[in-house]
Amino acid sequence: MIGLIGVCALLVLLSVGVPIGVAMGLVGLVGMCVLLGIEPALIKSGVVLFESVSRYELGVLPLFLLMAHLCFAAGASRDFFAAAASVVGHRRGGLALATIAGCAGFGAVSGSSLATAATMGLIGLPEMRKRGYSTALASGAVAAGGTLGSLTPPSGALIVFGIIAEQSIGKLFTAAIIPALTQTLFYMATIVIVCRLRPSIAPPSARMSWAERRAAIFRVLDLAALVICVLTGIAVGWFTPTEAASVGSLLALVLCAIRKRLSWRSLGEALAQTLKTTGMLYLVIIGALIFAVFMSFTGLAEQVSGLVQGMHGSPMMAIVVITVLLLLLGSVLDGLALMLLTTPILLPIVTNLGFSPIWFGIFLVRTMEIGFIHPPIGINLYVIQSIAPDIPLSRVFKGVLPFLAADFVHLALIIAVPALTLALPAWLS
């Protein structure tokens, strides 16, 4: 009962605008005070606080953020888009395809949906509008493509999940590779289909010469090598995720210097941005961990799990119900809040049903991504609108609908074929 009251209190606090980390931590702290008494609750919270800020594994988060900000300073987003546009830009819908490819590339270095949508929106959107693309398709492609930043490893959302769920971040990254690639292909297929059905919405552009294409591709080779080095290093065990983040940051620093984009100002900006986001994420993680401790004392997850098993439905049916629940919650909560609120409750249930926690991490992030582009929260839609205020929100939403349909099919595929996520980590281990 107290667990349920805690969840309700959390939802109320979140809706009145209390910071996510504070809301979760406060509910956890007060809940533990009620369950265990004031002294153990305060001491337990103090333990969580110190263990979180001194946790070696958490160092992966600021370092990957630093790598992302340095890559951004090096002009990664523009170069990824330019390279993709040089290859497919001349085809019908080619610039939309290039935007998706650019989002996948930049998502691999940024690790954030919001940053990917905002950055690629600034580059891809004006270009597509200039070439006469429908505003709906252009804005929809950027909004949907932005979500790739959350799943494409190294992803901030997967790191947070790994810490909250105590799962290997390296395995999560490896498991996300195939789903991220297939998601990219699904989005590209959506663009091709939409352009076949309505050719006028995406006119073809002039073809670039092979010399121009080679030059554009050559410009992203260093960035691609950086991403491949980091991911391969983690996957084959050259280094741990924290070490990979450090190596990635150093390489990004070198890359900035080689590209003549390294200055005290750009380094200071990258560090300040990193610290700002790190502080925000640390608070969220501390709050979520205190909330998770509280949840473990309430036994709510075990009770819900017992209830689910008592219904004698198939595990797949339970996952479908969980999906619907997550999608409903995702329409009123933002992605991070959704993940942090549901992980301590749903993870034990899902593992009791026989599903892998790694699979659940990918599934959860994928569901969370859908929340980024569907109203009323749909934060990426608002990001696009802030970049192009003359495009009505209804038009952005219209443009994102085909991608949303592709998302549902892709999510169904991830649920139906767990090997899509688990095969690669198993093979590499």
């Binding site: 305060l42 110190f50 610290l275 700002k276």
Partner: protein
């Protein structure tokens, strides 16, 4: 990505946080290179751990000063400005109380472990200053939010 305010790139907190981050980066890279060159850096993990603490503390205070914490805006953005301001002060008060609780817990633990001279296994890095730093940071965060609840600043 919105550029940060210029004053955020200056000041002690920024330099402490930035130095911590860069130190972790260098330690880890040297550790990786050393391991593959069969000259392992002993205690790299402990050094990185000690460098992460000031970086994490500074980053939380910087994010709080910048009002950069993640918030769900679904309800609040539809409220009239006066109500929104009131909610913001209420949120700050709750945040202040939360950090006061964390700070109390951290001080309690620091006092309890004060005479046990905790230190890391390999390099014998003392935990005492790290615990003090964490407790002070939680206290500072509490003060920041209590101040905000009384006098909401330009972060809104």
């Amino acid at each position: 990505m919105d550029p940060v305010k210029p004053q955020m790139r200056r000041g002690v907190l920024f330099y402490v946080g930035a130095a911590g981050l860069l130190m972790v980066m260098v330690i880890e890279v040297v550790s990786v290179v050393g391991r593959h060159a069969r000259i392992p850096l002993v205690g790299a993990l402990e050094m990185a751990q000690a460098a992460i603490v000031p970086a994490a503390c500074a980053s939380m205070i910087l994010a709080s000063l910048a009002g950069a914490h993640a918030v769900v805006h679904l309800v609040t953005e539809r409220l009239p400005p006066r109500m929104r301001a009131w909610m913001s002060r209420f949120s700050a008060l709750l945040a202040g109380l939360f950090f006061a609780g964390l700070s109390t817990g951290a001080v309690w633990l620091t006092a309890e472990f004060w005479n046990s001279f905790e230190e890391s296994d390999l390099l014998h890095i003392p935990f005492r200053p790290l615990r003090v730093l964490v407790a002070l940071s939680a206290g500072a965060l509490s003060l920041i939010f209590f101040y905000r609840s009384v006098r909401p600043g330009d972060h809104q």
